[in-house]
Amino acid sequence: MDEIRREIKNIEASAERIKALADGNNAVAKNASVILTFVYLLKFLTPSAEE
């Protein structure tokens, strides 16, 4: 599960970066936001009891 959690963080960082780069491109920004919604879900589905 640790490896999955690391990948989720990578996706999150990439999606945030795409959003920042979107520069007024609504379609790109929106789709990056949609990815971030699913990042939220992925985090919710893979919780660590240690955190």
Binding site: V34, T37, Y40, L41, F44, L45, T46, P47, A49
Partner: protein, 435 residues
């Protein structure tokens, strides 16, 4: 055994509870800073006061009446003080049915809706719905949440979804046959109505080829569940949820109670008298729910007023979540009649398990002078003659007395007299006025 999320569904209880407590604290903090309702309600209580999971009992319950109050004349319209995100983030509107008062308007952001759908995927997968299923949803969905969740979740897990709105019952029977639908979801009442309609058209519902049905919107007594299974030659599953809380528990292949979808929901089953203690396995308790990841409409310790029997957290399916063994009904539905506690569910259980000849029924409670009277209005199978119908009525009266300790009148009505429902059935009418 296949799971939707093996990681959380088979997680040891201790870990699961730790995670739920952590999610609860996150929601507590979020609610205090984003929801006017909770900013007010949780004044004087800080997240640091919640040191163990037992400390969540320090957090006051949320009642439906409060939700209504915080929406009346409070901006932003129509969500008022319940909104947990900027209104620009709301992407869909739902509302409660308003059966017990003014409806509650529920805002869903894209994130919260997807969170809801994910919880529902657990329910459908657990009930054996798979990408091979062509799922027919016999209902015109609208402002109520009913069937929207089923639609989106089934689509997400790979089923082929057929929206069956804007058709009458006969049209739906024809569409099921035409498309060879092999799965359905619906209120138990309407699933039975479809079967009755098909029989009237000279079609045996067993010939549909429906493999699985998920019950929604109404309690599903075991007798009704088995009757539907026999009628369609299929497997019938139950789930429970509401507009405010989302679908929060569902039935697995073992068909023994409903698994709570953990850690999406923290569900407490509290003793009915004091609402302060978690009941033991086998006991009845009031369901109190916290959806742990929904931010557009944060709801913390929502007292549902529903009563359920607590089940064990061991199941032959291997899931470790707590279970609700039986949904007894709403606290409001349980009435005192001639000094005896009466649950309409007991009548449904009786009718569905022992009286296949009864096509529809209704319970009416009236008061004559100081005496309460129960009348069971029934419609029987069209093939029965008057003598046979009277015999069914007599037997029902006798069995009712044995099952409930209350005598009743039974009135046989002509076919088509009693209302048919495609959403929540309202078969219990208490006309006494002061109950």
């Amino acid at each position: 055994m296949e799971y939707w999320n093996r990681y959380t569904e088979t997680m040891p209880r201790e870990k699961l509870e730790k995670i739920e407590f952590s999610y609860f604290k996150n929601l507590f903090t979020y609610g205090k800073s984003h929801s006017p309702l909770y900013a007010e309600k949780l004044k004087g209580l800080e997240v640091g006061d919640l040191k163990t999971i037992d400390d969540i009992k320090k957090v006051p319950f949320t009642y439906k009446e409060e939700l209504r109050k915080w929406q009346e004349n409070v901006d932003p319209f129509p969500y008022g003080g319940l909104l947990g995100v900027p209104i620009e983030e709301v992407s869909s509107f739902r509302q409660t049915s308003g059966t017990t008062g003014r409806p509650v308007y529920v805002p869903e952001s894209y994130e919260s809706w997807q969170w809801r759908i994910e919880a529902w995927c657990h329910i459908l997968w657990m009930a054996g719905f798979r990408p091979r299923h062509r799922l027919f949803l016999p209902f015109g969905y609208n402002v109520y949440v009913a069937f929207w969740e089923a639609h989106y979740a089934a689509e997400k897990l790979g089923c082929e979804v057929v929206p069956g709105g804007a058709l009458d019952t006969k049209g739906r029977v024809n569409k099921i046959i035409e498309l060879k639908a092999n799965a359905m979801a619906g209120t138990p009442t309407y699933i039975l109505n479809i079967a009755q309609e098909a029989l009237g058209m000279g079609i045996d519902p067993k010939s549909f080829g429906i493999e699985r049905i998920l019950g929604a919107g109404e309690p599903l007594p075991e007798a009704t569940r088995k009757r539907i299974e026999a009628t369609y030659n299929c497997k019938m599953f139950d789930h429970i949820g509401s507009t405010e809380t989302c679908g929060f528990a569902g039935m697995c292949e073992a068909q023994k109670g409903l698994h709570i979808i953990e850690p999406f929901f923290l569900v407490e089953l509290l003793d009915r008298e004091t609402l302060s203690k978690e009941v033991a396995v086998g006991e009845q308790g009031v369901i109190v729910i916290t959806p742990l990841g929904r931010r557009s409409f944060p709801v913390i310790r929502f007292n549902t007023n529903d009563v359920a029997v607590k089940g064990p957290s061991q199941c032959e399916c291997g899931r470790t979540s707590h279970k609700l063994m039986e949904i007894v009904g709403r606290v409001d539905d349980i009435r005192k009649i001639r000094g005896v506690l009466f649950s309409p569910k007991a009548v449904e259980q009786l009718v569905r398990s022992e009286f296949p000849e009864i096509a529809e029924y209704e319970i009416v409670v009236t008061r004559k002078d100081i005496m309460d009277e129960i009348t069971l209005r029934i419609e029987v199978d069209r093939k029965l003659g008057k003598e046979q119908a009277d015999e069914v009525a007599k037997r029902l009266g006798e069995r009712h007395k044995i099952k409930t300790n209350l005598s009743c009148k039974v009135k046989v009505e002509p076919e088509g007299t009693l209302p048919r429902y495609d959403l929540k059935a309202k078969r219990f009418k208490d006309m006494r006025g002061d109950h």
